[in-house]
Subunit: 200 residues, 2 copies
């Protein structure tokens, strides 16, 4: 009996090496149901393998969680180079693009907030191997956003960056309690107004 049915029939991803399949499945299940709610057996089964193979690639569930978050952090960090390549030499445009990219993530119907932030809620133990991943990623995001605000010649760039940061985290949280019609629907307008008021 599969508690967490895999939506995809895994036809394409099936022949990836088991480590990739495991990480892919872990990513889906951890995000949708929560980390503590998903057991290693369910992950292995959904990945078309078994617990032994899982433990040959990951020292423990906690390490699997850490690796899962490491992948997400790497993807999240890749947005900055993407912004630079899509709006070269236009930091103001990059900042606007960042805002709309964030808004799309918030409004995504399958969205359940930021996986890193959710993990921070679920894993309060400060010695958990996932915590440093979370903290480093968030720290990096904050710094990158401050740098972007500065380059975009935003007035009070630190304050505005922190405000945008909090708005995004808050929008993610509001999504999970009040849905897309809650305060989260004001995210773009709020961000645009904030940037506008501190531009030039």
């Amino acid at each position: 009996m599969t508690i967490f049915p895999a939506k995809a029939p895994e036809s394409d991803a099936q022949r990836l090496p088991p480590r990739e399949r495991l990480l892919s499945v872990a990513r889906d299940l951890f995000y949708r149901h929560g980390i503590r709610a998903v057991g290693v057996e369910a992950i292995a089964e959904a990945a078309g393998t078994n617990k032994m193979t899982l433990y040959r690639h990951f020292a423990s569930k906690d390490e699997l969680v850490a690796e899962y978050l490491r992948c997400l952090a790497a993807e999240k960090n890749s947005i900055w180079t993407k912004l630079e390549s899509e709006h070269p030499g236009d930091p103001a445009g990059q900042l606007r693009a960042w805002l709309h990219e964030a808004a799309r993530n918030v409004a995504d119907p399958t969205s359940r907030g930021c996986a890193l932030a959710n993990a921070a809620v679920e894993l309060p133990e400060k010695d958990h191997p996932a915590r440093c991943v979370i903290e480093q990623c968030k720290q990096s995001s904050r710094e990158k956003l401050v740098a972007l605000c500065r380059k975009a010649e935003i007035k009070q760039p630190d304050l505005v960056a922190d405000q945008l940061f909090m708005l995004l985290e808050g929008a993610f949280m509001c999504r999970q309690s009040l849905g897309n019609e809650g305060p989260a629907c004001s995210f773009v307008r709020a961000g645009e107004a904030l940037i506008e008021a501190h531009s030039k």
Copy 2:
């Protein structure tokens, strides 16, 4: 072996009826360690009683969780009457007081964010008895904040209220990943600037 040591020697609360002791302990443990991380046995033990008594007062762990959140929601809702009584007929002052009250909750060294929001992260199942408690509380908070902004004659009260709402939720989240020196430390300034820019 007690996994979650109770900090207080329970000298005073010890002789409350077991239901109150259980709820008090559940509140502490659920908030500090997370809901899924705490078992009913640990709660009963820390409350100086046992599982049987717990299940005589609560139909299930899920119902205990729901009741725990109901208590928190009631306390959270009581702030609005408190604001009214401390700043009677002064909605602008009430709004500022709300902001600083929220900031104190964020900056509290024992804070681990909003318990309701954290529960929403941990309990994504939409039929969980706790979810309606969370949604109703958040919905009510949003409406109260909108009404307060309106009475305080804030321009674009809906947008500002949602923005303050997201700022607070975001500040709570930032606390859990980047601590008090993270973006959360800009919460008050951001809120004040927002209110200032939309006043009169």
